[in-house]
Amino acid sequence: MDKSHALRRTFKRKEFSLIIVLILVVIFFGILTHGKFFKPLNIRNILNAMVIVTFLTIGEGMLIIYGNIDLSAGTVGTLSAIVMAHSVMTFGLPWWVGILMAVCMGLITGCISATLITRLHFQPFIATLAMKSVCEGLADVFGNASAIKIENKALSWIGNFKFANNVIPVAVIIALLFMLIYGIILAKTKFGRMIYLCGGNRQAAFLTGINPVKMCYVLFMNMGALAALAGCMLAARVSSATVTGVNSNQFSGVTAAILGGISFGGGSGGMIGAFIGLLLLNVFNNGMTLIGLDPYWQTVASGVLLLVALIIDYYNTRGTGKRS
């Protein structure tokens, strides 16, 4: 009896309907491109395109479950990549110290955002919008408004080496590993559970001994660190840290999380969903390019996709508890 209940729940889960949607989209583009879509090279392209956004999706997904959002992730990533490039190229530090410096940069910006939100009670939207500008400006200043060339074997290997006959990129494996580890943290650990509890009802969480303020700091700093890694991955791939870096990927992270069923109301969704959302987003983008859709119309289509996800989210959350 308990089993059939669990089974019914599985079918009702958002992830289940998402997989159906993903399969339909894949079949749709498969037919429309006469199978070109399924070629190994194209699948590699899709996975490769996911790498940068994966890091952002993990961080944003966790923040949205907690009930906040970080609009500065993109520019934090850009700024951090420039910090790494300077560390390695200007100061001649080892590549891994460079990445460490970038991560520190991300931790600092995350800490500032969390302070603005928890101590000064700024809306997360406003606080991180300001941080976005600050980081964008700093990236310009330190990057001398152009790009810093990176010549480093290790970084180039991380960014471009491909295993198995030039098919599976290192970067993809790293990104998927992160997704897996964070997925386990979110679903299976005390820390992960506390994110859901805070997002579901902060007062109730507080009254059972959880410290939502501390959680806020951890999650924003985590977001900053992940954004920094996204920045470093991109810089490693293109062998330079540019002043626009991952800026344009800012909203892809949020979009993938929302597509994956992480509700803006907080307290629901999960990493499996976010991963499917990420796949969906990239399959969609890739498919549109393959069929030769005008790039401007691609942007419109992406927007419509997000709207559809939000509408589904609205009907799913309506009636099941309150939206905050």
Binding site: T189, K190, Y196, L197, Q203, G209, G321
Partner: protein, 497 residues
């Protein structure tokens, strides 16, 4: 034509509660009619029906011979009803003048607001009410008492036939109360129908002409103010059958040593609150809404700061600055609002129960579903939570079962608290589930726990508690045993001025 307000057979039910049952009375022009009753007796519900916030299930409202259908707040204005609520309905970022003329500002051509007239009219009102601030002052910057006066001016300006005041004097000083009363006197002279809700007996005797007494959603009596006494009113408010519910309870009889002592707890709401809680004791906190009971227990639990005072557990002074520290001192709080503060409605019963003990259901780094299931099963078993599965969403449970989930959270083999604070545990719960919760409270005491019980239902708090602390306005105004306590003497302490 004579003005009057007639309420005929108004009834209103909420799930599990009959908030109003067949209320009928008539209020005449040029008189002040008091609505009197305990918390939850139905006064505020009636005002909400009159103002169109709530729709009655049955009954009619007749104003001066014409039946009015109050659909919403706007149609209430049209019908000539103006209600001044306890919670002020002002816009803090707008000026006094803009707030007073919110719904119909004087206009110039093309719909522009005529600021000059707006300010002049407001100034006239301010002079009349003898208030020391200007029309351009932002409402949000005024002290609470003045905000209340702005609210009253708003209703006065509308020139409504029926004006209802919901505890208007609560935030006012003596001088402001005098001004308000002279205004009410003037409204009487103008032949308005005035309804006046207050807990303050001396005010009721000073300005009202007739008194409608409410109890448990029913109207128990209508008397002329000149022909009654304070004692008679209190008797009418509380006199009800206690029933067998309390006699049947299997109570704890062994009361042990002091396990919690609060000394002089003070913050911006409560002042100098001291009490002792013994092992095996149910300690009740009685008082009106806003008396500071919830604030007291939140301070004990570390959810609110205290500016001075001391908490001792088993005789040892402890510093509690967060719920986490309180929990470590084996204190648990079941908060007053189950849905807003107690449960995570979107989450399952399972994860609502495991909230405070996540560290204890781990296997290495990961949470163990097996241990969590065992914990939830234990609570379901112990409190007889009626649910098909522990994976049911907490928001889908009935009020009584939700309360049991919260109790189950704090009393299990993994976490066993010495001190349980229950803030309004039976609020919005149907009668059957209530008596289950009553027995649960007695059982907790029998297990040797100290239980603090806050309830706005007087019979409940008096009949369940071994001792009752009465609070008023942030102070403790009395302590008595169950044998000493009567609804009359508790209410007298809770309502004193």
């Amino acid at each position: 034509m004579e003005r009057y307000l007639e309420v005929n057979n108004i009834s209103k039910s909420f799930p599990g509660v009959k908030a109003l049952q067949n209320i009928s009375f008539r209020a005449e022009s040029g008189t002040v009619t008091a609505l009197l009753g305990e918390n939850g007796a139905g006064k505020s519900t009636l005002l909400k029906v009159l103002s169109g916030v709530l729709k009655p299930d049955e009954g009619t409202v007749v104003i001066s011979g014409k039946e009015v259908k109050v659909q919403d707040t706007h149609s209430a204005f049209e019908a000539g009803i103006s209600i001044i609520y306890q919670e002020r309905q002002l816009i803090p970022m707008m000026s006094v003048a803009e707030n007073i003329f919110l719904d119909d500002s004087p206009e110039k051509k093309f719909g522009f607001v005529d600021r000059r007239t707006l300010r002049a009219e407001t100034q006239k009102l301010l002079d009349k009410f003898q208030l020391p601030f200007g029309p351009d002052e932002l409402v949000g910057r005024l002290p609470v008492a003045y905000q209340q006066m702005v609210e009253i001016m708003k209703a006065y300006r509308r020139d409504a036939d029926i004006i209802a005041f919901d505890e208007p004097t609560a935030p006012l000083t003596e001088k402001e109360i005098r001004i308000l009363f002279s205004i009410i006197e003037e409204l009487k002279q103008q032949g308005k129908v005035i309804l006046y809700v207050s807990h303050r007996m001396n005010e009721i005797f000073e300005i009202t002409d007739r008194i409608v007494i409410f109890k448990d959603g029913q109207m128990v009596d209508v008397v002329n103010t000149a022909e009654t006494t304070e004692a008679a009113l209190i008797r009418a408010m509380v006199g009800r059958d206690i029933g067998d519910t309390y006699n049947k309870l299997d109570r704890n009889t062994v009361i042990g040593e002091v396990i919690l002592e609060a000394k002089g707890l003070t913050n911006d709401v409560i002042s100098d609150v001291s009490f002792q809680l013994h092992r095996g004791e149910v300690l009740g906190f009685a008082g009106l809404v806003g008396a500071g009971r919830t604030e007291t227990v939140r301070a004990v639990f570390g959810a609110d700061r205290i500016t001075s005072g001391e908490i001792l557990i088993h005789g040892e002074p402890v510093k509690i600055t967060s719920p986490k520290e309180a929990i470590a001192s084996r204190i648990a709080l079941c908060p007053e609002d189950r849905k807003e503060q107690g449960l995570i409605l979107k989450q399952t019963i399972r994860s609502n129960i495991s909230m405070p003990v996540l560290s204890k259901i781990k296997n290495g780094l990961l949470l163990s579903r097996k241990k969590e299931k065992a914990l939830a099963d234990e609570a379901v078993e112990k409190y007889d939570i009626r649910t098909p599965s522990i994976d049911k969403i907490a928001g889908e449970l009935s009020g009584g079962n939700q309360q049991k989930v919260i109790l189950g959270r704090w009393t299990s083999s993994l976490i066993d608290m010495d001190i349980l604070i229950l803030d309004e545990p039976t609020k919005g719960i149907d009668v059957g589930a209530k008596s289950e919760i009553y027995q649960t409270i007695c059982n907790l005491a029998k297990e040797g726990k100290g239980v603090i019980l806050i309830s706005s239902e007087l019979t409940e708090v008096i009949n369940l508690s071994d001792r009752i602390i009465v609070m008023h306005n942030g102070h403790v105004t009395g302590t008595m045993t169950r044998e000493e306590a009567t609804e009359e003497n508790v209410l007298a302490l809770a309502m004193q001025d």
